[in-house]
Each structure stands twice: as C-alpha cells, then as structure tokens.
C-alpha cells in the first residue's frame, strides 16, 4: 500500500506551497506505468489531507500513457506495460513516458 506514503508526500508538497491558504484543487500527474492506483490515491488523499489546508480539496489526476524508445534502433513505441519488444527484435526498450509521479499545480483560495 505504497499509495499511503505517496499521498503523504503529496500532502507535504501541497502544504509547503500553499503558504497557509486553503487549497481548492490539487492537480497531479500519475503515469500509467507508475504502479500507483489512482483510486487508492483518492482514498488516501481524503485521509491524509484531514486537518490540513488541503482538506476538502479536489484531487485532479492526469494520466500519462506509456511510451518507450528502443536503445538499439532508436524507434519509439507505445508501452502498455513496463517491458516491450521492438519491431527490430530488441528487448532493450527504455520507458521514456508513463512513470511520472508529479504534483503539477495548486489552486488556493
């Protein structure tokens, strides 16, 4: 249940940036290959933000699709999981998108 610890980090970042103001909306980016479940994050966010400036804030989650680049031929391809087979036959495919875990934006009152 690493979502709990991830959410604690999100709330810490929000508190740091909010400057004591009440937070209305938190926008985060969670890549589809990041092994984080958005539903679990939402559940944890309600718990972790209680009695902080982020209590009651809307959690907006942007998903980024996985994308890989072949280290042998340079070709780029969509990735539905963390590993892929390039059409050149190589399995050395580096994930270049889809593992994002980022707090992007806050909206304070």
């Amino acid at each position: 249940m690493h979502e709990l610890s991830i959410t604690q980090s999100i709330v810490e970042i929000v508190i740091d940036y909010a400057g004591g103001k009440a937070v209305r909306r938190v926008q985060i980016e969670i890549g589809e290959l990041s092994s984080i479940m958005p539903d679990a994050l939402r559940f944890c966010f309600d718990v972790c933000s209680k009695d902080t400036v982020a209590e009651g804030a809307e959690l907006e989650i942007l998903r980024t699709e996985g994308q890989g680049r072949c280290l042998d031929c340079g070709r780029e391809m969509p990735m539905a999981q963390l590993f892929a087979l390039c059409s050149c036959g190589s399995r050395k495919v580096q994930c270049i998108k889809g593992q994002e875990l980022r707090v992007k934006e806050l909206e304070v009152v």
């Binding site: 249940m1 690493h2 709990l4 610890s5 991830i6 604690q8 980090s9 999100i10 810490e12 970042i13 508190i15 740091d16 940036y17 909010a18 400057g19 004591g20 103001k21 209305r24 909306r25 985060i28 092994s35 999981q81 963390l82 590993f83 087979l85 399995r91 050395k92 875990l101 980022r102 707090v103 992007k104 934006e105 806050l106 909206e107 304070v108 009152v109």
Partner: protein, 282 residues
Amino acid sequence: MCTTCGCSDDAQMRLTKLDGSTHSHEHTHADGSTHSHEHAHEHEHEHEHKHENSAESVGLRQAPDKSIQIEQDILFKNNLKADENRRYFHERSILALNLVSAPGSGKTTLLEKTILALKNKVVINVLEGDQETANDAQRIRATGIDVIQINTGAGCHLESKIVSTGLKQLNPENGSILFIENVGNLVCPALFDLGERSKVAILSVTEGEDKPLKYPHMFKAASILILSKIDLLPYLKFDIDLCIKNALIVNPEIRIIKVSALSGEGLSEWIQLIEAMLQKPL
C-alpha cells in the same frame, strides 16, 4: 517527524539496534500512550484572520482563486535523502545492497550464509526491515555482526530517511558492506531509492516462473537476480529456464545467479560478485 528514529507520527516506525550492547528503544505513536519524546513541527502554520474592514467581510469582492505552478516530483524528498545516502556510501567506499523479494523467498537465510562466508574478510552491517518482530535481526545478530531492526508498522517498504537514521546508529566503517533487507514485498520497495548501489531481487523456485512478468517494476529496478532454493528443484514443476527467460524479457541486463543457501550450490558465484563490486567502486 520523530528525530530519534525518523518515524513519522502515524507510521508507527520503530528502530532497534542489536549490536551486543544493551541499547534499544521502542515507542508507540498515534495513541499517545508511550510517548517519551517531543515531535518538532516541520513547518509553520500561517493563521489567517478576517478583519472587520477586510474586502471580503465588507462584501466588496472575493479574491479570485490563485493557481500555483509546482511541477514537483512526488518522491523528491525520498530521492534527495537517497542521494545523501549515496554520497555517504561513496565517501566511505561502502558497498550498499538492497535485498528485495516476496516474503519467504529466503532472504535472511541467504544473508546468514553470505555473512558467514565474508565476515572474516570484510566488515558487514545489516539493516533489517520487517513490519513487526526482531526475529530476523536476531538471526543476523547470531552470526556475530552489528544489525539494526527497523519495524515499519503499517509501512510496506523502507524509505531513504529511515535508512539514513539507521546509518547514524550503525556508523559503518570505511570499506565495509551494508546489506539492507527490505520488507518482504514485490511491489512497493521498487519505487523507493535508498541510495544503494544495487537492488538484488531474490526469487525462490517455490514461486511461479512468471513472477518477473507479474511484478515487472521490481525486476526492472533490480540489477541482480538470485534464484534461490534450487536444492528443491527435483521436487517441483518449476521450469527454471522459463523463469530466466521471463526475467530477461523484463530486464535484458539483469545478472542472474542460481543459489541454494542450504547446500551452498552457487553461493561462491554470488560471493565473488560481491567481492568484485567491493573492489570496483562506482
């Protein structure tokens, strides 16, 4: 955050040193019953007060919502502390290995045999992570080396901050080896950098051949894979070649060693790899 053991207020993290001295401590958070130290607040609270003549209270206009661009990595703090740990290891030429696996793969047995094979040549310290009990630390302590048990309570993985706190207590000497035995869990520990040189994944042959495909994050994050308990192969249907193939699909660069900690088969290859890493710092 507790400045003694690095635990956060609600994580119920505990740290116990088993080094032959009598020092140990335990405390419980959340219910407040066994607090013996004060927690410092990490941030200041700004209180806003409405004044009678403020714009809002006299109904002139309400300030519009304000957007703040952040773009900060959620794991930023963990990664920062992990970098600190990495510098600490580098400056002292310490080889730090993070052992990760599902529960019951044989991490502690492998560690016991590894320590016995190496402890006369190099100083070894261990950080043991488990949700509860000091059982594993006691087993490691019986080999005669210093060990700290970290009990994560509700936590399912170790983070760089608690490793840093453990390092302060262990104070490992230059040129030594630090084994970090992570909490038995194939998911969460993959995400958290501790500052280690390598993650070593352990997969026992009593598990499924497709584990690397099912838990790709861990096998991608690891640079070494130990296939353990191979003495049991004659009694199992486990297809070891298929398992190796699956591991290489997920991570073509992973170094795979087949080991039986019980019979000693393959142990020398693992020991030689550790010695080579120790002699060749990054």
